[in-house]
Symmetry: C2
Subunit: 156 residues, 2 copies
């Protein structure tokens, strides 16, 4: 077994982390994969696929919140906006805001959260800071089983 | 150089195609990565990450339309709905509909298309067909340079 930096079984290997893997597989548009063409364009360099940055958000959301939450599923996104390009080496800061919380009408054992997230590209020597992604979405979460009847409910 | 099935340089290798790679990297929720837990749940088996199916849509959209179109960028998604789970081995049929087309007010060299796509999970021995994903989004496309002034515009 190959161990990760914290001693757990490694889940990511060199091949998973090399630049460009995602775009070549899922989004091979020239400004995501063709360095020369991208450098000669108004973008100035290769930019990240919008679904790659969305997937990075998913990972941060899973690690930061879902891993500790009684998370059920998500019906989807209300809106996803790519508002500024993301470049190799950029650092992204994520902010998550709870816009609303309501019990589910269809499923009494869960509640629906409406969440808004931004991914902000930090300033670098070459470019100013900018909000790169805005996402609004809903997530279902199990309700705390304080009611014995609810506690007996199988959520999934 | 390793060649692909059609003789081009290969872009996908064994490691890129093995099941579970996407979810372990981007969406390690138990119903995406833990086979035993997923089989014991109402899902009945591991289901695909919603961002994985969205990324598969992106690839099909790039191969099927963007590769032949004067495609500029996309401002984002109006809506993304995960309406049924997708299982390993499922075949997905994609349908793309043009809901609207309008010249861009901000950028006269491009037009904005509003598009709606569905990804339908085909029926298998185990499960009936179901619409798995619905996406509504906008894309910018360069206008045909019939006007000499438009033709001189650098689109990117």
């Amino acid at each position: 077994m190959i161990r990760s930096g914290t001693g757990q079984p490694a889940e990511l290997f060199f091949d998973d982390i090399s630049p460009g893997t995602f775009a070549r597989r899922f989004d091979p548009q020239w400004y995501h994969v063709d360095v020369q063409a991208a450098r000669a364009s108004a973008y100035g360099d290769v930019i990240a696929s919008g679904f790659y940055t969305a997937s990075l958000f998913m990972r941060a959301y899973a690690d930061g919140l879902l891993s500790r939450a009684a998370a059920d599923a998500s019906p989807g996104l209300e809106e996803l906006r790519w508002t500024a390009p993301v470049y190799g080496g950029d650092r992204l800061a994520i902010r998550l805001e709870v816009l609303g919380a309501a019990p589910s009408a269809a499923k009494p054992s869960v509640g629906t959260l409406t969440l808004a997230a931004t991914m902000t590209r930090m300033a670098t020597d070459r470019r100013p800071a900018a909000v790169a992604v805005r996402i609004r979405f809903r997530g279902w979460f199990a309700r705390r089983p304080s009611d014995p009847d609810l506690g007996a409910t199988t959520v999934l």
